[in-house]
Symmetry: C2
């Protein structure tokens, strides 16, 4: 995570890259921190976490079964597991109502809210560039 990267790119590429950035890096990052941070990013960077983060960002507060409906394809097991990890990491708040049948509500914590915000640009990138990725894949597969 250096402040600047090697610049063998066109001015236009770099300008376009800038539109995805909110802030410059504060400074070069301590290599020790770098390791910790990579480890942490790796733990968040899984299939479901990002999608759940996005869902709660959009919808605010949801019950267990509502999240399941929004995140198509997830199994109950993975949903439980992922939510539990996110709660442990302080990203999600779990509110249990003592009633029968049980009712549990999930929402983003302030920490989860800021992480979601940080992911915004990635989502925007995906919306704007998914066709380019598809095209690249098609080209690659044709040549192979």
């Amino acid at each position: 995570m250096k402040k600047s990267h090697a610049s063998s790119y066109s001015a236009d590429d770099l300008r376009r890259a800038q539109t995805y950035k909110a802030r410059d890096y504060p400074q070069d990052v301590d290599p020790n921190i770098e390791g910790l941070v990579r480890e942490m990013i790796s733990s968040f960077a899984d299939k479901w976490t990002v999608v759940i983060l996005d869902t709660l960002w959009d919808e605010g507060t949801l019950r267990f079964s509502e999240i399941a409906r929004h995140v198509s394809g997830i199994s109950q097991k993975m949903l439980t597991q992922t939510l539990r990890r996110m709660e442990r990491d302080g990203l999600v708040v779990r509110k249990l109502y003592a009633c029968v049948p049980p009712k549990v509500e999930y929402s983003l914590s302030p920490l989860g809210l800021t992480l979601s915000a940080a992911f915004c640009n990635v989502w925007i990138w995906a919306v704007e560039n998914h066709k380019a990725v598809d095209a690249a894949r098609a080209t690659f597969d044709r040549e192979a």
Copy 2:
């Protein structure tokens, strides 16, 4: 990916979240696109891709073995596999020099460059909040 989320947060939380955002969403996103995008994000959201993206963003152009050195813990197999996928997705450019011994250089494509830029805020978030995550984990584990 709606433009706004449910707001049961303090003004301060929301202000803090804003600092991680570069741009507002262009509009509510077509649900069909939403699915495609989630699928794509899921495919990028793995342990190694993000770290390699960051490494190439920092260093510019690297040889295979140099990336291996920068990304500690990765096996040769996973590095090959991940780089191949990233090349297929159009994020990375692979340049092969016809010489003995072989020399291969990897760098970000313009598409990869913009994605890296979009990830900047996530890295910044991680640098600024990894202690909060550690604290949350400690609290959670103590209570359990």
